[in-house]
Symmetry: D2
């Protein structure tokens, strides 16, 4: 059975749920699940509805348009697999974990390719029968490197890019090509330890808990909307390297969890924060 | 500003959300928040709606009746304070924590009295200006003891009883007087370590995590619907007494959290499980 | 039975454990528990030993001196209760929780007094039969205010000051009087959200987890050695006030846990970090 | 640099640490880290010492023998890689995670082979260049099946067997061949939900947290000494299948963590419980 997901966000108004569900009811559609949330400060309304079966998108969209305010965002999508390209550098745990889950059918996506700036992940990638591209950053400018990646992506036209411990920073120009469509895993409990070597920073500060944060990539490094966070305890016996190793256990799960939420259309972005209907 | 909470549960049917929100819309009421859940196995529908302002309950109830199936449960209630009596035995942490929160106005309840089978908690209770009753279990039968408690409760007619480490078991006859209105904290991660001395059991089994569970009291000891659970790590250096002391830190929070959820009308009970709209 | 705790820290050297345990063995003392840790970067050694019974401190100290490097720190102390003064402002949860635990005998300390800059916590404090002082900050300079507090403390000569949500910042001059003897609870997962209104900051950043941190107070605001941290999940439905309320559940436990560790002589401070033998 | 690990357990006695460290000191060896624990109920002593460099095992063992009680267990081992065979059935997450970590060098072991009773994990195993054996349980008696596995293991003589969601129960006869050398991951927070379909049991009980437990396999199903446990929150929206999927995220980490602890000689077994020096 295939289902349809309706995402609506707009300024709040009396009767929104009634009017939306009336459209759905009049079309004879059945609601399987329904989440609403109103940001009371901004008087803004968010709704995620799963409908049984698929209805012609155009008609549903048109009918919703007639009862919603003009500035409303309506997104209709079936629970089909979305195309994804993964970027990585050297570490295997996040990439390997995503490839394992993908081959298991756990993630509703189609991993089109893996792109790496180093060349050590070829064997891992290809053992999962996924297309591998090595696009080195050495010997070219940052701009050229990004152009090479964009050219490669052109072939796949992925809906989402997943940075599975991709250790380079993209320019605003690159990010603009994939607005709120790049998901990164940062190896700290943001906003603590922004930037490079967060485990080293955590070690030096002597924290008793370390974390991991997935977020959408925006122009401001490590400041995009947070999707998922998780933490684990550490203590004085952990070196920075020990923290890094312990942190991998949550990094991979946080990244996979956030990707799943995004692929299932459970995530709204509003004012640089996420609303997650999980 | 006062709000009204509408709780509805009934067999699922197409158009329920539409029909319910139509009644609300036609009455000119504004929805502040709305949660729905459908148990897909049992095809059963649950909804919690918070309305801005108060509407005459009778009219709202009657209009909802006309569009809902006959077997629907409709509960309307304002976010008023509910009356509560706490029962305890000897330990101070749960009772003290509840009294602290109550005096802070953190819990939407009115603690009418504390009843203890031992007599060591009088000072603590009275320092919070709460009525205290010592109803000893010694020197009388279980039936007599429960009759004495029921007689005392008669004076307060509480909507909920909270067992804050009350270490005696009630008979089905007693429980029948407060169906799904008695909240207990059990000092284990149920269903592990049912019954007496759960920390001793946990110690003997050598678990690496201990837990705490709040639940509604039913005839089956420690088997009522679970409301909230939490855990903390332990290790081989913990004695049973050490586990008990560590466990207190979560017991009090779990009990308070579950009481708050219940008092805010966020908890449905269905087939011996809870649906919690938090 | 009374025990004696031996804390030693010094530059690491071959044979330290052997030489120390030889002294203990030769004195006929029995080791109940023993923790060692060597900071491998700094080649620095830490040891906490619990001895059965009490031995004349002077002899033990002298014998240890003969076998340890000159710069070694040796601290001997019985597990006696240490004197503590609590400072608070307005919030009840941390203060109330400490007073509850203190009256239960859960903390090996003797709470001498509570000092508040506001005057709303008198009733709570006195209900636990603890001396209360209101020392307002209004109408006097920061320096005068601190002098008033120091004068009041003079009477009690506490070994530790506990800041139970004391919302003012001490000057270096004040802190110098209690070096590494002031324990604060900060309502964030440090180093995230240093400074004022951390829950508001957390809300605005859209984090999915909030935290609480206890630390020793040093001249650098919120940058002293961290003792304990804990976290709880939040989501988009939490307002800043909702986060603040949820955060209280961990603030009080984190503060109490860190105080207990300090009182039990389980905490070493080294290079602005703590080594905690728990 | 290679190190040597000394594990000692014996009845407690005065002077044990002194006598042991004297042997080490007299041999001119340097202690890098040292953990002791005394079970106060049983008056039993446990010690794990890491020595810099390698000393002839025989001499060290003999010298320790002379100062330890006769019933003492002494185990000397370098931090060399231990040989491991993994058994699995159908699920990929635990097996894949172990193979990933193994290929990363994260685990100090040498995975000799993977044995499966079903045949779907061949591709995954071989993509990591690990020897794969399909030993079906169908068409033969339980005894024959176990004989086939034992015959296969004979070739590898592994020090540890890891059951990575191996869904069959071994007979006592099989287990006797690998006493406390078989590590299993059970998909529940033991002792809750012993036996088959723990997630289904958890779903039916309506728990709010689910867990995962690694343990040594003994004759009593799911009652062997627990090594590591972890949990994650769930709620009423989780089906049994949803719990199973969420549970995988902790199963793999718990299994890997416990294997690492065992391989690093950090785990003692005493009275059906573990002492873990982590």
């Amino acid at each position: 059975m295939s289902n349809q997901i309706v995402l609506i966000d707009c300024p709040d108004a009396k009767g929104l749920v009634y009017n939306i569900t009336k459209v759905i009811f009049d079309l004879g559609l059945n609601i399987i699940s329904n989440h609403e949330y109103v940001d009371l400060n901004s008087k803004y309304f968010f709704m995620r509805t799963v409908l049984e079966g698929n209805h012609p998108e155009k008609e549903l969209n048109n009918k919703l348009r007639t009862i919603l305010p003009e500035e409303a965002n309506i997104r209709l999508s079936s629970l089909r697999k979305k195309s994804v390209v993964i970027l990585a550098t050297k570490e295997t745990h996040c990439l390997g974990d995503l490839l394992l889950r993908n081959s298991d059918g756990e993630l509703p996506c189609d991993v089109k390719a893996v792109i790496c700036n180093h060349n050590s992940l070829k064997g891992l990638t290809e053992s999962f029968k996924i297309q591998y591209h090595h696009i080195p950053a050495e010997g070219c400018s940052r701009k050229e490197h990004e152009q090479n990646i964009l050219a490669c992506l052109e072939e796949y036209k992925p809906e989402y890019l997943v940075l599975a411990k991709y250790m380079r920073i993209f320019t605003p120009n690159f990010i603009r090509q994939y607005p709120y469509r790049i998901i990164n895993i940062h190896h700290s409990f943001l906003p603590a330890f922004i930037g490079a070597s967060p485990y080293k920073q955590a070690f030096e500060r002597g924290v008793k808990i370390i974390g991991s944060t997935s977020h959408f990539v925006t122009d401001n490094l490590d400041e995009g909307p947070i999707i998922v966070q998780d933490v684990i305890p550490v203590n004085h016996t952990f070196t920075a390297a020990g923290m890094a190793q312990a942190g991998r256990d949550i990094e991979k799960n946080v990244l996979a969890k956030s990707l799943k939420l995004v692929l299932e259309n459970r995530v709204f972005i509003f004012k640089d924060k996420t609303i997650v209907f999980d």
